[in-house]
């Protein structure tokens, strides 16, 4: 009994040290993990009878080879930038927002519909209102689990998962019933040019969304590091009892953190609806909200790290496309390689986070 206690505290101490180490070695670690995942992926690809050479050549070229590939990597990273940030921000408050997917859907629908109703306004205003609508819808869907957690103690993981269903079905229903574009497909009307996020590099679909994403990271990073709100949110996340002692309104901060997280996830939907698809299509997301969890786990404590983490997944997605297109690797193998990367990069980080959480609640006994 005593021994096991010793071991876990040693382990947790080590992981804290690991997390506390400067960014470079953390980056190094991630690089090792990615390479390791690719190595095992190579074995699997080879064993399945495909050319490893061709597969990885295309993976690399598809992600980084040339302007269009780089642009595609950015395009694929953009929604993950938002969802990753949303999940990472909720982590700061000790909340696990599994509902980014649903928040993204409501955000996307709001952004695909509101600008249409504002035809008379100048484009800048229409786009701004579209973004605000997306953020607002996401925030509303963040408010619900936040409120349930703060007032009734309902665990946010469960409520957010359930709200994901509500969001996807609700948006589908609304599209079919109120906002349907006449034609064979369930989708909203195509947004006119003045209601779209401008394309930064023509012909690539790299939109203003990515800039907004980076700005959102910068802004929330400042909120966390500099503001009283951020201080209190972090205090609630790291030790709610101490936060309460420090005069923090734990319920209010919980709700606010969840709303901010939801708003950011909603913006992921806005960026997709206004910058990529130019409309809302039911079930358009291939799980951006869930991949965002992986992004946030890799990013760990640092919000800035969301940017490279999102780029990593964007690159895998974009390179994976080429791998499929030109090396004939079936989608399943490609997804498996991506899964390996998540496993290797994220699993230890997740494990150490869990251990840390456990140890901080048990710390009392261990210390002399």
């Amino acid at each position: 009994m005593d021994l096991s206690g010793d071991r876990s505290s040693k382990l947790s101490k080590r992981s804290i040290e690991w997390l506390a180490r400067p960014g470079f070695s953390r980056f190094m670690y991630s690089a090792v993990a990615v390479l390791l995942a690719l190595l095992i992926g190579a074995i699997l690809i080879g064993a399945s009878g495909y050319s490893v050479k061709e597969a990885y050549y295309n993976l690399f070229m598809g992600a980084f080879g040339g302007v269009y590939s780089l642009a595609t990597t950015v395009v694929m990273s953009t929604p993950l930038l938002f969802t990753g940030l949303a999940v990472a921000f909720a982590f700061q408050c000790g909340l696990f927002n599994v509902g980014a997917e649903g928040q993204l859907y409501v955000g996307a629908l709001a952004s695909a519909v509101v600008p249409l109703a504002l035809g008379g306004l100048p484009p800048v205003l229409r786009v701004t209102m579209g973004l605000l609508a997306g953020a607002g819808a996401g925030a509303a869907f963040g408010f619900v689990p936040g409120y349930l957690k703060a007032k009734l103690g309902a665990h946010e993981v469960i409520t957010t998962i359930m709200l994901n269903y509500v969001a996807t079905f609700l948006t589908t229903f609304l599209v079919k019933t109120y906002f349907r574009d006449p034609g064979p497909v369930d989708q909203t009307v195509l947004l006119p040019l003045g209601s779209r996020l401008p394309e930064l590099i023509s012909g690539t679909r790299v939109s203003l969304g990515v800039i907004i994403g980076v700005l959102a990271v910068a802004l929330l990073n400042q909120v966390i590091r500099r503001s009283v709100l951020g201080y209190e949110i972090q205090a609630v996340g790291k030790n709610p009892h101490a936060a309460e002692y420090g005069g923090v309104n734990v319920s209010a901060r919980t709700i606010q953190a969840m709303m901010i997280s939801g708003a950011v996830a909603g913006l992921a939907g806005s960026a997709e609806a206004m910058g990529t698809l130019y409309r809302f299509i039911p079930y358009f997301s291939p799980g951006y909200g869930f991949t965002g969890i992986a992004v946030a786990v890799i990013a760990g404590e640092s919000l800035w790290a969301v940017i490279p983490a999102a780029l990593l997944f964007g690159a895998l997605q974009s390179g994976g496309q080429s791998m499929q297109l030109f090396a004939g690797i079936p989608m399943e193998l490609m997804t498996m390689v991506q899964g390996l990367v998540i496993l290797f990069v994220a699993a230890p980080a997740l494990a150490s986070m869990l251990i840390k959480r456990k140890s901080s609640s048990e710390e009392g006994g261990g210390r002399a």
């Binding site: 009994m1 009283v228 790291k238 009892h241 101490a242 002692y245 005069g247 923090v248 210390r367 002399a368």
Partner: protein
Amino acid sequence: MENITKRFGNVVANDAVDFDASPGEIHCLLGENGAGKSTLMRILFGLCRADSGFIYVNGEPATISCPRDAIALGIGMVHQHFMLAERLTVAENIIAGSEPRRHGLLDYERARQKIAEVSQRYGLAVNPDAMVEEISVGQQQRVEILKALMRGARVLILDEPTAVLTPPEVDELFSVMRALRASGTTIIFITHKLKETMEISDRVTVLRDGRTVGVEKTSDATSDGLVEMMVGRSLPIHDDHRAPAQDIISLELKDVSVAGRKGSRARLSSVNLAVRRGEILGIAGVDGNGQLELEEVATGLRRPSQGKLIINGQDVTGFDTKRIRDKGVAYIPSDRLKRGMVSPFSLARNSVLGMQHSAHFSTRGVLQEDVVREHAESIVDLYDVRAESIDQPIGSLSGGNQQKLVVGRELTRPHSVVIAAQPTRGLDVGATHYIREQILASRNRGKAVLLISAELDEILELSDRIAVIYEGQIIDVRRAGQYTERELGLLMTGQRNGV
């Protein structure tokens, strides 16, 4: 034990330590937390192995690589945290691992007889058929001692045995120890409490920073000398210049009750307390008698089910913690790790916990980092917090230094009332002394101090008046001088009669 060295990573827990104990003596192993006492005894009991050094038992070199080896050599150990199965009876716990058998079956009757025999011999009265979860902590400790004796221990290691006991229980433990000594058992008594060392031991070995700094016969030693050995310096005497107590009530609880969970008794019932400016009101009591509820009610962390909380003449019942604290309440919480600090936060960030929203530290919702850092630096300086930097996480500091920062933070915020709950729990002698001084200094500056402590010494040393809490009720309040230690001890266990 000769030349024992043990390293954990970069930390040397034991550095060429020599230690010996003779048959039939109570040998005190004295030292601050982290001095290496427990490590040394864990080596002796086979819970960890020394990197180098030798162990001799009865003059023979011995290899002890696991507790079983130690038990075979007649060494027994009672840990600070008991290792008993709660859902089994006392007898079952004692025989577990060495069950007497007859025809391959458990011979429960014979086990009971043996237990009765041994417990009678040393005055260790326990009921062998009671469930462990039903008996008191003191009795559980006896079960542990019995367990060791039944396995033939001739050397008994007691790791901080008094930490969990009430004063009367301590007295009983000491008489058991004397009886054991009389029968020739060697007792190694690990402690950091001087008074107990002076009272019970025959010889004392003092450890500091993993080294033996002295071995003395207790009869030749003085308290001050031992403290100097433990701490490495002498401690100053408390400054006693004080502002005269005034008859102005700063903190008052009127008829405060806190309901228990459904069906159980109230946590606090009809508590009336008044703390005046310039006085320390000590709340004495055995842990778990409503102290936690008292501190939480007084700081707004918990709402009383009945009664009023009045601070500086204003009824603040039902206010949240922020508003109550803003009325000028400094609060040193009993559970430092849970309440008093955010472990992963830096010292700097912890230094403003509870004041993050004040106009001094933030403007328009933005924390003024320079001001915060300056504040942290000044606490670190003023309150002697040993840290590499104010940017390191507070969780990486020792308990004593964490507590100094907490105390410093609370006593530097604008306040008129201090609520200090278990302010020195788990701290070493140096830090304890320092923090007690700060509390006295605060009183001397005219603050009203509510001191809640399970350490009777602390209550006696600091309080101007003492209230005794038992089962959620204040059962007695007097001026400090009007109690004897024995009286207090009895009151704390609810025995009003005979006082």
